[in-house]
Amino acid sequence: MPPWGRFAPGVVLLVAAALPWLAPNEYYLQILTQGYVFAIAACGLNVIVGLAGQLSLAHSAFFGVGAYTMALLATEAGIPFWIGMPAGVLLCAALGWVIGSICLRSRGSYFAIFTLAVGIIIHLIILKWESLTHGHVGVIGIPGPAAIGPISFDSSMARSYLALLFLALTVLAVSRLVHSPVGRTLMAVRESEPLAAAVGLDVMAAKRLAFTLSAAIAGLAGALFAGFIGFLGPESSNVETTFNMLLYVVVGGLGSLSGPVTGTFIVYGLSQMLAVLQQYQMVIFGLALVLLILFMPKGLAGAVRRLAPALAKPR
């Protein structure tokens, strides 16, 4: 292991822990918190797209399901965040398992188109099932996380650290997956699925696990999003949200552990900070996606790995 690599996770953690203190005001603190939440979702997308090489376009649908589960349980049934959030995650995992079992039998372009259709169906259900989801109006007045013992989550600072904690747990979970036999199988599938199957790896089981985990992580991000913002609209589950998350992952580096987090911070941060960008945001984002894939397909993580091998973490 190169000498730098050993300290990298600790340094990153320190910087991350310091960031909420450095935020100049409440507004930036909230953006930071949302950045953590979207980074969690991007990590989830990275599991299925970056690690397993399967372009799932249903990711924001799971984000929406997690968010709406938490929000509706809280507002309609009075069930608190700490029960509603895990419920959303579990529902997404179950849905992910079922949908993954069906969609993953299709490969390549077929899988992308299939998941795109599934994502749109889920989004349209959320949009049109007005008696449950309130359609376009959305859900308002969603209660945030209640205090655990002496720790209250009413302040933006506390919520920021709570989001950071979940982000760290997510990265840890993905890291465990990467270094497990299933993770190796997924990378083999990404390079060549027929070859992976030919050497006797259980390709379907590994892909299904990746899809389920990816959906559960999206659900977690969705539930946190709903609980922190306090209101929720159907646009959280539309396909454009998936495209945004895809951009975060591609900028940071497909398949790298830290990539989705850095990508989210750069892209989401820039889009929030620079008002000038607002009008031309999608022109720039779309072009960036094309140029990155053409010239830097491994994103920032790949560039860092190439330019400064001593800094990069070994695989």
Binding site: S106, S109, I113, F114, F243, L254, Q279, I293
Partner: protein, 286 residues
């Protein structure tokens, strides 16, 4: 009975547009195995270019159509050369992500130039004609006729000319086509040009009936994917028949079953097909 006939006529109009768009998508998939997610944006840009020429420059509708078609064909060639050709030997995932990037880019460009509002384009054939007792605007009849002409021309091109045969050969067997001396670069370029032209024709034809707006391409791409999956990825007759079939199903389903969930029909059909046949209804073929 009259309602039914009216809905069938509507289905025919929408079906003509669906088929033209799906034909372009299936040609690109057949020859290059790229699902061009940005295909609907070429359709949308075609409509906008014609709209700008007709309203701002006062150009004749047919002239505007030809200019728009030529412009989008060139755009198709440019995208092939600059984006899809360099990615041909990269992992499949990369060209799919690049296509998604183009989708976002082209739509945002249109939004920046023309804004988000819905635009109306006059047709020179706004008059109402009576056809077997049904009232129909002249433009709808012209749309159905022009679309049929274009499809016939495409079929003749693909079956009767060397360039068309080269496209079909590449779709059937890329290595075999290369072995008999077919230039894959030229095939890719001509396929993208034809595909862009067909999308632009469809966009300009439907513009006076539906409105012109930046997001008009997104839904039609999705519908075209459904059609192409139903008809077989890469299959030309499949795309042709599939377009009319889906439009009829939507038109009749929207009238007799549920109009709120009309847009859902296509995606549910797609999901059902993939659930039972993970590789699509037909084997990939030209």
């Amino acid at each position: 009975m009259e309602l039914l006939a009216q809905q069938v006529l509507n289905g025919l109009v929408t079906g003509s547009v669906y088929s033209l768009v799906a034909l372009g998508l299936t040609l690109i998939y057949g020859t290059m195995q790229v699902p061009n997610f940005a295909h609907g944006q070429m359709f949308m840009l075609g409509a906008y270019i014609a709209y700008a020429l007709v309203t701002a420059a006062g150009l004749n509708y047919w002239l505007a159509m030809l200019v728009a078609v030529a412009a989008i064909a060139v755009l198709g060639v440019v995208l092939e050369r600059l984006v899809f050709r360099p990615l041909r030997h990269a992992p499949h995932l990369n060209s799919m992500i690049a296509a998604l990037g183009l989708l976002l880019f082209l739509e945002a460009v249109a939004q920046n130039i023309w804004g988000e509002e819905f635009r109306h384009m006059e047709s020179p054939y706004g008059g109402v004609a009576s056809l077997f007792g049904l009232l129909v605007t002249g433009h709808r009849l012209i749309l159905v006729g022009v679309a049929a002409l274009l499809m016939t021309a495409l079929m003749l091109f693909l079956t009767r000319t060397m360039a068309g045969s080269a496209i079909r050969a590449t779709a059937q067997n890329p290595e075999g086509a290369l072995l008999v001396g077919i230039n894959p670069d030229r095939v890719a370029m001509s396929t993208f040009a034809i595909s862009g032209a067909l999308a632009a024709f469809a966009g300009v034809l439907i513009a006076p009936i539906s409105l012109v707006y930046p997001a008009m391409g997104a839904m039609i791409t999705l519908k075209a994917f459904v059609i192409v999956v139903l008809g077989g990825m890469g299959s030309v007759p499949g795309a042709l028949a599939g377009g009319y079939l889906l439009a009829m199903a939507e038109s009749l389903g929207g009238t007799y079953v549920s109009s709120a969930y009309q847009d859902l029909i296509a995606f549910v059909v797609l999901a059902l097909v993939f659930t039972f046949k993970p590789t699509g209804l037909f084997k990939e073929a030209a």
